[in-house]
Symmetry: C2
Subunit: 184 residues, 2 copies
Amino acid sequence: MATPSSLRGPSVRTVPEGDTRERVVCPDCGFIAYENPKVVVGSVVVSGDRLLLCRRAIEPRRGYWTLPAGYLEVNESTMAGAAREAFEEACARISIDGLLAVYDIPRISQVQVIYRARLAEPGFEPGPESLEVRLFAWDEIPWDDLAFPSVHWSLQHYGDWQRTGDERTRGTPEGASPGRLQGL
Amino acid sequence: MATPSSLRGPSVRTVPEGDTRERVVCPDCGFIAYENPKVVVGSVVVSGDRLLLCRRAIEPRRGYWTLPAGYLEVNESTMAGAAREAFEEACARISIDGLLAVYDIPRISQVQVIYRARLAEPGFEPGPESLEVRLFAWDEIPWDDLAFPSVHWSLQHYGDWQRTGDERTRGTPEGASPGRLQGL
Protein backbone atom coordinates (compact mmCIF):
# COMPACT_ATOMS: atom_id res chain seq x y z
CA MET A 1 0.00 0.00 0.00
CA ALA A 2 1.41 3.37 -0.95
CA THR A 3 2.14 5.89 1.80
CA PRO A 4 0.45 9.23 1.18
CA SER A 5 3.18 11.57 -0.06
CA SER A 6 2.38 14.04 2.72
CA LEU A 7 3.67 11.44 5.18
CA ARG A 8 6.82 10.51 3.32
CA GLY A 9 10.32 11.69 4.03
CA PRO A 10 13.15 10.21 6.09
CA SER A 11 11.54 7.56 8.21
CA VAL A 12 13.34 4.23 7.94
CA ARG A 13 16.19 3.34 10.30
CA THR A 14 18.93 1.38 8.56
CA VAL A 15 22.73 1.17 8.38
CA PRO A 16 23.84 2.86 5.12
CA GLU A 17 26.54 1.14 3.07
CA GLY A 18 29.99 1.92 4.47
CA ASP A 19 28.58 3.21 7.74
CA THR A 20 28.59 1.58 11.18
CA ARG A 21 25.45 3.06 12.73
CA GLU A 22 21.75 3.14 12.03
CA ARG A 23 20.64 6.37 10.36
CA VAL A 24 17.24 7.69 9.38
CA VAL A 25 16.89 7.22 5.62
CA CYS A 26 14.15 8.26 3.19
CA PRO A 27 12.99 5.10 1.41
CA ASP A 28 11.75 7.18 -1.54
CA CYS A 29 14.84 9.17 -2.39
CA GLY A 30 17.72 7.61 -0.43
CA PHE A 31 18.36 10.85 1.48
CA ILE A 32 20.26 10.12 4.72
CA ALA A 33 19.27 12.39 7.62
CA TYR A 34 22.40 12.22 9.79
CA GLU A 35 21.47 13.03 13.32
CA ASN A 36 24.23 14.83 15.17
CA PRO A 37 24.49 16.27 18.62
CA LYS A 38 23.70 19.96 18.76
CA VAL A 39 25.77 22.76 20.19
CA VAL A 40 24.07 25.20 22.56
CA VAL A 41 25.92 28.48 23.12
CA GLY A 42 25.22 30.90 25.94
CA SER A 43 26.72 33.23 28.48
CA VAL A 44 26.66 34.37 32.07
CA VAL A 45 26.44 38.13 31.50
CA VAL A 46 27.27 40.54 34.30
CA SER A 47 26.94 44.26 34.80
CA GLY A 48 29.07 45.24 37.77
CA ASP A 49 28.30 42.54 40.31
CA ARG A 50 24.83 41.73 39.02
CA LEU A 51 23.95 38.89 36.65
CA LEU A 52 21.56 39.05 33.72
CA LEU A 53 18.74 36.51 33.46
CA CYS A 54 15.82 36.20 31.06
CA ARG A 55 12.35 34.92 31.94
CA ARG A 56 11.26 32.55 29.17
CA ALA A 57 8.28 33.51 27.02
CA ILE A 58 8.29 30.12 25.29
CA GLU A 59 7.98 26.46 26.17
CA PRO A 60 9.61 24.45 27.56
CA ARG A 61 9.75 26.06 31.00
CA ARG A 62 7.82 29.23 30.10
CA GLY A 63 7.96 31.73 32.98
CA TYR A 64 11.23 30.37 34.41
CA TRP A 65 14.57 32.17 34.40
CA THR A 66 17.40 31.27 32.07
CA LEU A 67 20.68 32.49 30.61
CA PRO A 68 20.65 33.95 27.11
CA ALA A 69 21.47 30.78 25.17
CA GLY A 70 20.40 28.77 22.16
CA TYR A 71 21.48 26.61 19.24
CA LEU A 72 24.65 27.48 17.39
CA GLU A 73 23.94 28.21 13.73
CA VAL A 74 25.81 27.07 10.62
CA ASN A 75 28.99 29.07 9.88
CA GLU A 76 28.90 30.74 13.29
CA SER A 77 31.62 30.66 15.93
CA THR A 78 30.57 29.79 19.47
CA MET A 79 31.43 33.31 20.68
CA ALA A 80 29.45 34.92 17.86
CA GLY A 81 26.54 32.60 18.67
CA ALA A 82 26.61 33.47 22.37
CA ALA A 83 26.62 37.20 21.49
CA ARG A 84 23.74 36.70 19.01
CA GLU A 85 21.65 34.89 21.62
CA ALA A 86 22.22 37.70 24.16
CA PHE A 87 21.04 40.17 21.55
CA GLU A 88 18.02 38.10 20.46
CA GLU A 89 16.80 37.22 23.94
CA ALA A 90 17.76 40.33 25.91
CA CYS A 91 18.57 42.99 23.25
CA ALA A 92 21.95 43.12 25.02
CA ARG A 93 25.33 43.82 23.46
CA ILE A 94 27.98 41.80 25.29
CA SER A 95 31.77 41.49 25.52
CA ILE A 96 33.00 37.98 26.07
CA ASP A 97 35.73 37.46 28.68
CA GLY A 98 36.40 33.73 28.69
CA LEU A 99 35.14 30.17 28.40
CA LEU A 100 33.33 29.34 31.64
CA ALA A 101 32.11 25.81 30.97
CA VAL A 102 31.48 22.99 28.52
CA TYR A 103 28.60 20.76 29.58
CA ASP A 104 27.72 17.39 28.08
CA ILE A 105 24.06 16.40 28.10
CA PRO A 106 24.19 13.14 26.16
CA ARG A 107 20.62 12.14 26.98
CA ILE A 108 19.40 14.91 24.67
CA SER A 109 22.58 14.98 22.52
CA GLN A 110 23.63 18.49 23.50
CA VAL A 111 27.02 20.05 24.09
CA GLN A 112 26.69 23.40 25.83
CA VAL A 113 29.45 26.00 25.48
CA ILE A 114 28.99 28.74 28.10
CA TYR A 115 31.04 31.95 28.20
CA ARG A 116 31.66 34.61 30.83
CA ALA A 117 30.62 38.01 29.50
CA ARG A 118 29.86 41.62 30.43
CA LEU A 119 27.28 44.07 29.14
CA ALA A 120 29.17 46.14 26.56
CA GLU A 121 26.45 48.82 26.61
CA PRO A 122 24.07 49.59 29.48
CA GLY A 123 20.74 48.86 27.76
CA PHE A 124 18.74 45.62 27.58
CA GLU A 125 15.10 44.60 27.19
CA PRO A 126 13.13 41.45 26.47
CA GLY A 127 13.45 39.99 22.97
CA PRO A 128 10.55 37.99 21.47
CA GLU A 129 11.46 34.82 23.42
CA SER A 130 11.64 36.59 26.82
CA LEU A 131 8.90 37.90 29.11
CA GLU A 132 11.31 39.90 31.21
CA VAL A 133 15.06 40.56 31.51
CA ARG A 134 16.62 41.55 34.84
CA LEU A 135 19.93 42.00 36.61
CA PHE A 136 20.17 40.06 39.87
CA ALA A 137 22.63 40.45 42.71
CA TRP A 138 23.98 37.03 43.78
CA ASP A 139 21.63 36.97 46.80
CA GLU A 140 18.61 37.73 44.62
CA ILE A 141 19.08 34.88 42.11
CA PRO A 142 15.76 32.98 41.86
CA TRP A 143 17.33 29.55 42.41
CA ASP A 144 13.98 27.79 42.67
CA ASP A 145 12.70 29.31 39.46
CA LEU A 146 15.60 28.56 37.12
CA ALA A 147 14.53 26.89 33.87
CA PHE A 148 17.14 24.13 33.57
CA PRO A 149 19.86 22.39 35.60
CA SER A 150 22.56 23.79 33.29
CA VAL A 151 21.48 27.34 34.23
CA HIS A 152 22.05 26.38 37.85
CA TRP A 153 25.46 24.84 37.01
CA SER A 154 26.52 27.91 35.01
CA LEU A 155 25.64 30.34 37.79
CA GLN A 156 27.32 28.17 40.44
CA HIS A 157 30.43 27.82 38.27
CA TYR A 158 30.45 31.56 37.68
CA GLY A 159 30.26 32.18 41.43
CA ASP A 160 33.04 29.67 42.00
CA TRP A 161 35.21 31.29 39.33
CA GLN A 162 34.66 34.71 40.87
CA ARG A 163 35.35 33.52 44.41
CA THR A 164 38.47 31.49 43.66
CA GLY A 165 39.93 33.20 40.58
CA ASP A 166 40.38 29.70 39.12
CA GLU A 167 40.02 30.29 35.37
CA ARG A 168 39.91 26.66 34.32
CA THR A 169 36.91 25.83 32.16
CA ARG A 170 34.35 23.81 34.10
CA GLY A 171 32.66 20.60 32.95
CA THR A 172 29.43 18.79 33.76
CA PRO A 173 29.19 18.51 37.56
CA GLU A 174 30.06 15.07 38.93
CA GLY A 175 27.01 13.23 40.12
CA ALA A 176 24.63 15.25 37.98
CA SER A 177 21.67 12.89 37.91
CA PRO A 178 20.86 11.88 34.34
CA GLY A 179 17.19 12.03 35.24
CA ARG A 180 17.44 15.71 36.06
CA LEU A 181 19.37 16.69 32.94
CA GLN A 182 17.51 18.90 30.54
CA GLY A 183 18.74 21.21 27.83
CA LEU A 184 18.74 24.97 27.93
CA MET B 1 6.97 18.38 -14.77
CA ALA B 2 7.31 15.74 -12.08
CA THR B 3 10.73 15.10 -10.58
CA PRO B 4 11.74 11.43 -10.72
CA SER B 5 11.21 10.08 -7.23
CA SER B 6 14.84 8.87 -7.11
CA LEU B 7 15.90 12.53 -7.15
CA ARG B 8 13.44 13.77 -4.56
CA GLY B 9 14.12 14.52 -0.93
CA PRO B 10 15.12 17.70 0.89
CA SER B 11 16.21 20.10 -1.81
CA VAL B 12 14.40 23.45 -1.57
CA ARG B 13 15.79 26.29 0.52
CA THR B 14 13.04 28.27 2.23
CA VAL B 15 12.24 29.89 5.60
CA PRO B 16 9.82 27.59 7.46
CA GLU B 17 6.89 29.22 9.26
CA GLY B 18 7.95 30.54 12.66
CA ASP B 19 11.65 30.32 11.79
CA THR B 20 14.11 33.10 10.94
CA ARG B 21 16.55 31.27 8.67
CA GLU B 22 16.48 29.43 5.37
CA ARG B 23 16.43 25.66 5.83
CA VAL B 24 16.54 22.80 3.36
CA VAL B 25 12.99 21.48 3.01
CA CYS B 26 11.58 18.52 1.07
CA PRO B 27 8.84 19.89 -1.19
CA ASP B 28 7.16 16.48 -1.29
CA CYS B 29 6.76 15.75 2.38
CA GLY B 30 7.56 18.97 4.22
CA PHE B 31 10.48 17.38 6.09
CA ILE B 32 12.87 20.07 7.32
CA ALA B 33 16.53 19.06 7.27
CA TYR B 34 17.97 21.37 9.91
CA GLU B 35 21.66 21.85 9.27
CA ASN B 36 23.61 22.27 12.46
CA PRO B 37 27.26 22.69 13.21
CA LYS B 38 28.99 19.45 14.07
CA VAL B 39 31.07 18.60 17.11
CA VAL B 40 34.45 16.97 16.55
CA VAL B 41 35.97 15.29 19.60
CA GLY B 42 39.59 14.25 19.93
CA SER B 43 42.57 14.04 22.23
CA VAL B 44 46.28 14.63 22.55
CA VAL B 45 47.29 11.26 23.97
CA VAL B 46 50.65 10.82 25.67
CA SER B 47 52.63 7.88 26.94
CA GLY B 48 55.34 9.20 29.22
CA ASP B 49 56.70 12.20 27.30
CA ARG B 50 55.78 10.91 23.85
CA LEU B 51 52.64 11.86 21.89
CA LEU B 52 50.44 9.52 19.88
CA LEU B 53 49.67 10.35 16.27
CA CYS B 54 47.84 8.40 13.56
CA ARG B 55 48.69 8.44 9.85
CA ARG B 56 45.43 8.75 7.93
CA ALA B 57 44.35 5.87 5.69
CA ILE B 58 41.44 7.90 4.29
CA GLU B 59 40.85 11.12 2.42
CA PRO B 60 41.03 14.00 3.00
CA ARG B 61 44.74 14.20 3.72
CA ARG B 62 45.51 10.49 3.36
CA GLY B 63 49.07 9.75 4.49
CA TYR B 64 49.28 12.76 6.82
CA TRP B 65 49.45 12.63 10.61
CA THR B 66 46.54 13.48 12.86
CA LEU B 67 45.17 13.16 16.38
CA PRO B 68 42.59 10.46 17.08
CA ALA B 69 39.44 12.53 16.53
CA GLY B 70 36.11 12.46 14.75
CA TYR B 71 32.44 13.38 14.90
CA LEU B 72 30.60 13.13 18.20
CA GLU B 73 27.69 10.69 17.95
CA VAL B 74 24.14 11.03 19.24
CA ASN B 75 23.75 10.35 23.01
CA GLU B 76 27.51 10.42 23.54
CA SER B 77 29.42 12.70 25.89
CA THR B 78 32.45 14.51 24.46
CA MET B 79 34.79 12.50 26.72
CA ALA B 80 33.21 9.20 25.69
CA GLY B 81 33.49 10.28 22.04
CA ALA B 82 37.17 11.18 22.37
CA ALA B 83 37.86 7.79 24.00
CA ARG B 84 35.88 5.99 21.27
CA GLU B 85 37.85 7.74 18.53
CA ALA B 86 41.16 6.79 20.17
CA PHE B 87 39.99 3.19 20.23
CA GLU B 88 38.66 3.20 16.65
CA GLU B 89 41.66 4.92 15.07
CA ALA B 90 44.50 3.63 17.23
CA CYS B 91 43.05 0.65 19.16
CA ALA B 92 44.15 2.64 22.22
CA ARG B 93 42.49 2.73 25.62
CA ILE B 94 42.91 6.21 27.11
CA SER B 95 42.37 8.06 30.39
CA ILE B 96 41.26 11.65 29.99
CA ASP B 97 42.98 14.27 32.16
CA GLY B 98 41.39 17.57 31.17
CA LEU B 99 39.91 19.82 28.51
CA LEU B 100 42.80 21.18 26.44
CA ALA B 101 41.00 23.27 23.83
CA VAL B 102 37.76 24.25 22.13
CA TYR B 103 38.29 25.38 18.54
CA ASP B 104 35.74 27.12 16.33
CA ILE B 105 35.97 26.48 12.62
CA PRO B 106 32.89 28.35 11.39
CA ARG B 107 33.82 28.08 7.70
CA ILE B 108 33.04 24.38 7.87
CA SER B 109 30.60 24.64 10.82
CA GLN B 110 32.71 22.65 13.25
CA VAL B 111 33.32 22.98 16.96
CA GLN B 112 36.27 20.87 18.05
CA VAL B 113 36.54 19.70 21.67
CA ILE B 114 40.08 18.43 22.36
CA TYR B 115 41.10 16.66 25.58
CA ARG B 116 44.45 15.88 27.20
CA ALA B 117 44.76 12.14 27.75
CA ARG B 118 47.16 9.31 28.58
CA LEU B 119 47.39 5.74 27.34
CA ALA B 120 45.58 3.71 30.00
CA GLU B 121 47.14 0.48 28.68
CA PRO B 122 50.42 0.15 26.79
CA GLY B 123 49.12 -1.31 23.50
CA PHE B 124 47.98 0.43 20.31
CA GLU B 125 47.82 -0.35 16.60
CA PRO B 126 46.24 1.12 13.49
CA GLY B 127 42.44 0.93 13.24
CA PRO B 128 40.76 0.76 9.82
CA GLU B 129 41.11 4.53 9.23
CA SER B 130 44.84 4.63 10.05
CA LEU B 131 47.88 3.45 8.07
CA GLU B 132 50.18 3.70 11.06
CA VAL B 133 50.11 4.77 14.72
CA ARG B 134 53.26 6.01 16.46
CA LEU B 135 54.49 7.72 19.60
CA PHE B 136 56.61 10.79 18.90
CA ALA B 137 58.95 12.67 21.22
CA TRP B 138 58.33 16.42 20.94
CA ASP B 139 61.42 16.85 18.71
CA GLU B 140 60.23 14.10 16.38
CA ILE B 141 56.75 15.51 15.64
CA PRO B 142 56.32 15.63 11.84
CA TRP B 143 55.19 19.28 11.78
CA ASP B 144 55.28 19.50 7.98
CA ASP B 145 53.19 16.37 7.56
CA LEU B 146 50.31 17.13 9.92
CA ALA B 147 46.89 16.66 8.33
CA PHE B 148 45.10 19.81 9.53
CA PRO B 149 45.79 23.18 11.20
CA SER B 150 43.83 22.12 14.29
CA VAL B 151 46.27 19.21 14.80
CA HIS B 152 49.06 21.77 14.82
CA TRP B 153 47.14 23.99 17.27
CA SER B 154 46.38 21.07 19.58
CA LEU B 155 50.01 19.94 19.75
CA GLN B 156 51.27 23.51 20.27
CA HIS B 157 48.67 24.10 22.99
CA TYR B 158 49.61 20.82 24.63
CA GLY B 159 53.28 21.84 24.61
CA ASP B 160 52.35 25.23 26.04
CA TRP B 161 50.23 23.63 28.77
CA GLN B 162 53.08 21.30 29.68
CA ARG B 163 55.71 24.06 29.71
CA THR B 164 53.69 26.62 31.69
CA GLY B 165 51.35 24.50 33.82
CA ASP B 166 48.57 26.89 32.75
CA GLU B 167 45.47 24.66 32.78
CA ARG B 168 43.09 27.12 31.16
CA THR B 169 41.30 25.67 28.15
CA ARG B 170 42.67 27.11 24.92
CA GLY B 171 40.62 28.56 22.06
CA THR B 172 41.15 29.09 18.34
CA PRO B 173 44.51 30.86 17.91
CA GLU B 174 44.25 34.58 17.18
CA GLY B 175 45.07 35.37 13.59
CA ALA B 176 44.34 31.85 12.37
CA SER B 177 43.88 32.56 8.69
CA PRO B 178 40.36 31.54 7.59
CA GLY B 179 41.88 30.33 4.32
CA ARG B 180 44.01 27.80 6.17
CA LEU B 181 41.28 26.47 8.41
CA GLN B 182 40.24 22.91 7.74
CA GLY B 183 38.50 20.36 9.90
CA LEU B 184 40.10 17.36 11.48
